[in-house]
Symmetry: D2
Subunit: 355 residues, 4 copies
């Protein structure tokens, strides 16, 4: 099978760099087009990118010339890591021009016709694409906010087994979640920032759409989430302290078993970016830790630990996810892979549009 | 008034150093005796202490010779910053020998005859000393755990005005709370530790004693606290994300007003270490922050911010307190001052005992 | 004596904030005018400044309305913490309009008619002001780069006693030296940056002017400086590892004595911002350390330690200075005080110009 | 070829853990015996080790029971990561019992009959083993201190091409160089430590032995090294600012070319742990950086950058090496591989001794 040609929008940002890194040796996708801001256009990616991962940008990507937003790239698939400020109209335009747009941006997540998907949680929401195809044949599929994904993946085993009605969550989020230079050292050194604008709203809203049902419309789940979001001096990896109220009673063993026996569906488990375990349970009380566990499943596994009773709700636990991989670039990539597996993205498509 | 002679037990540790610093220019107390571990005994404090505050140890303290535990020091008052491992019998012995022992150690906090006191919250618990004087005339008075003090002081205005039935709290605690070298850089750099042994138990238990009543016995308050405690890469200052369920309904304005109008009693406000405001409310959403606000009220003020509704309980807010000052050394000192003001510690006492 | 009215240019930046802090309770100066970038003009300082010191901006400063650059403020003295990009013409214009401009900017430091002054080192360079008064009666006096000041103050005792011909210096500079948000957490966490653009050039050039003589022109000293500048994860305080070649031989005792006996001239020692000791020698091998010693002399003392032989040059030592105080805001302030003491800045002046 | 059985002494420390990690999938060596301190003896490695790398200890190692020091293990080769305090007699005893001991400890490095080897620099020093075989048939081979290896590997291309007579070096060393918990967060946060006991002495002495010749005895090179060693808040990777005086003149292009064309000998290049390039030259002025470049060549490449003229000596540059890999565990492993390639370690050997 020839690889599908992929464009990455916002390729020089924190999430864009991660997409470039993950696409470097991807079995299905070939990185064909890199789009970034105007001042980079026409220059080689390797020259303009302020690469923050160890080593250097992949050789193939380094040689690509940056293209401007606004063109119709010769690709089969668009992966968007655009800032919300510009993602809104740009992604819509591409979808209307027939492109499948898989986006990490927040701007269209809550749109009534846009699926907000975590493959292990609500792959069925992609049915909306067939039910309500957009004009032009393209579409937008989004993944949740970086702090939402870790929470919802950790909730999913409990949701399926016992039902969940209330969630209290306090996050300790990594600086890379704010973008490449979004947090200055002068702000975060020897410090914690007690507020991330807009973050608590996303974390309280998105889970209801994801855990809800598609029945011609996206019906939100009956779930109350209360969030307190903090920025801490960690490079990558969002840690979340979670308390839950269950719909049916559970013993400690049952809760632990729910986490340990949770698996992706066979369809999702077969995707190239799917980790061996979407959720991994830790039994040592000092785990998960961001630096030690964010790389689990090459960044795609959510680590859960410290399962214990809560004296206010029912159960407490700690969840950790790599905000740039499972929480952003890897999330978009997994969505893209699922769309390919379901036949929603096809090689002929891109050829027809772009050429 | 001649100053009261004071001994500091555990003087080389993190809390001990802070006591030495705070006592340096104290209007009522004179640092007379420093007690530390055996390997330091007989050497000068300035030579053995690994001083971690800016600059150098106070000149007067530096010249004192370290004394061993087990002697009866010639002092009117004992301030204990001993490790729990050794504090148990040592503090009891001194109390039985007639000394007033004001301790930061956890070991006796929940003893049925030992007051656990925050002067602005439950000064009345000191009545227990008169009701049940110990053999020998001495006694032990304790202050709560560093994470408990910030929480309970922040809860107190709501407790008094509305009543509080449930508390959900996630802490982000500074490394100095683990003692001088309790957290290695290799553990906490680029990381968060999701477990502090014993901490959640203290934070869930101590508030019930403090907010309870003394009626011949300490009757715990009817309050459920659920805690998740974390260590973060901050030098000093514990930040806590708190959600509360109130006994009576409140508007946002009323909650804010409760915080803003809270004052210490005149008796407590007059103590030398009492801050102008025990609780300070922030209105900027990005405050309080550990590095910017831990020094408020010379470390004795608890900073509260981000008051907002909670979709699971009733109200959420963020509280910050300096763990070494308000949460430990300053807490003990304020307790000692209150005991002096109430006549529980007297100069003649020490003379009689020690000499 | 009524206080002199002072304007601070660039008042919202890292150095500007420090000037505002230091001026808050200054015995000679009254903060009258705050100038910042266009987007802040007309708003209150307290609203626009992203204050990074503990607590809050001084109350008096908070209420001042930000004024634009380009006006002639009603002040006796201008303190400039402008970015070099805008400082060039703006400072010249004010000097030509008759203002004494005391600047921390790098742009005019090496100008042939502008003194580059550290009061304890080369106060005599101010003679240039009398010898060559500018048109309009104003002038510019500059202080050196933050890394230069610590080096030159530490060299001065050796320069005076033995002569110095060669200096090898490696710096470990704090993030605040790059401005408020000049270093992102993603760049410096778990890292060292091996290059600070332009810094090595300043550190190799400025000492020659400062240690040179004014003889109708500034004659540079015959001194070779080789610098390697690094950014490290420290909030404030530049540490420098220095090796020197002396002009005449010296014993270890003589070198130590040179540091210990060094004092400011009586004229300089009497200035309000003058520290008790411009240079403080440490004898413990583990000092100076940025966090423990940057505050020495309220940030105005350079701490020197680890004096030992160098197997390539003659002697090695470590120097530390607070980059925002002694290295910037305090340096400018001390220069301004010296100018007042010498009668170069007068109250009538400002009245005449501004009003 | 059956794998050689290997024992790791000091297996739970920072260097020991790295040895265990590197041996996990080694083509020549099989991890057979783990030795650690008495309190761990008899327990499984996976239970006692406080593993600090991402993820978990290798499965095979986790199941091994810790053995005590003092026994003669059934292995062909001993890799020692013991603390110097215990390494001295323990390594000697094993060598006398016939074992090849490849040690990272400092204690025997300067012994007159012990080679101190970096394979790319002075493999010929191993000739000493044949010239002067120890009693019992065993021997000790050491690798240099973690800060020495990076320096000497970076000097080697210049040494070979131009000769080097003087070196001035300032180091910024990672916390892991001090062992697992050798640096507390309270010491290094927002700080630099200006002294590492014993480090400057090693860095000034070891290069002379390594760059010297074996002529029946180890004749030190005529080279003056002056070092200033600092601890910085970096997890792994020692950065060094180096200035050198060459024996013959060189242009910038020639210096750059010396670094770029440097290769290991074919014998060394063929070893499993040999990196593609022992030295990698960076041309971007902001590199090398510890976090981005310590992993080059899987931690075995020394990164060099910022080549520029020195106004005191001749040339300046920055060198970076991974202190736990190239500077310790990987260094020992490469030495062990070289010994196997040269026939100094043989499978029969171990069988004879241990069995």
């Amino acid at each position: 099978m020839p690889k599908l040609r992929v464009a990455v929008l916002g390729a020089t940002g924190a999430v864009g760099q991660e997409l470039v890194r993950l696409l470097d040796s991807h079995p299905w996708f070939s990185l064909a087009v890199l789009v970034a801001s105007d001042r980079s256009v026409g220059r080689r990616y390797g020259e303009v990118v302020d690469w923050r991962s160890p080593g250097f940008p992949p050789r193939a990507a380094s040689g690509l010339l940056i293209e401007p937003l606004g063109r119709q790239p010769e690709v089969d698939l668009v992966l968007s890591a655009l800032d919300s400020a510009v993602a809104g109209p740009a992604e819509l335009e591409l979808a209307r021009a027939g492109y499948p747009v898989v986006s990490n941006s927040s701007v269209h997540r809550m749109d009534p016709d846009v699926p907000l998907v975590i493959p292990e949680v609500n792959a069925s929401h992609l049915d909306a694409l067939r039910a309500a195809p957009g004009a032009g044949g393209g579409f937008i599929v989004t993944n949740p906010n970086c702090s939402t994904i870790g929470l919802v993946l950790a909730l999913k085993p409990l949701w399926d087994r016992f039902g969940v009605s209330q969630v209290q969550v306090a996050t300790m989020q990594a600086i890379s979640g704010a973008g490449l230079d979004g947090v200055s050292a002068g702000m975060i050194s020897d410090n914690v920032l007690p507020h991330i604008p807009g973050e608590e709203e996303k974390l309280e809203t998105e889970p209801r759409k994801i855990l809800g049902r598609w029945e011609g419309a996206f019906l939100p789940a009956a779930l109350a989430v209360s969030a307190a979001c903090h920025r801490v001096a960690v490079l990558d990896g969002h840690l979340e302290a979670v308390s839950v109220k269950l719909m049916s009673s559970a013993t400690a063993d049952e809760v632990v078993d729910a986490f340990e026996s949770f698996r992706a569906s066979p369809e999702v488990a077969a995707l190239p970016s799917s980790p061996p375990f979407p959720v991994q349970l830790h039994r040592r009380p000092d785990r998960p830790q961001p630096r030690l566990d964010r790389g689990a499943g090459r960044g795609m596994t959510v680590s859960v630990g410290r399962v214990r009773e809560c004296s206010v709700l029912d159960w407490k636990f700690t969840a950790l996810s790599h905000n740039l991989v499972r929480g952003a670039a890897g999330a978009a990539l997994l969505n893209a892979e699922l769309l390919v597996a379901r036949g929603e993205v096809r090689p002929s498509f891109g050829a027809g549009v772009g050429g």
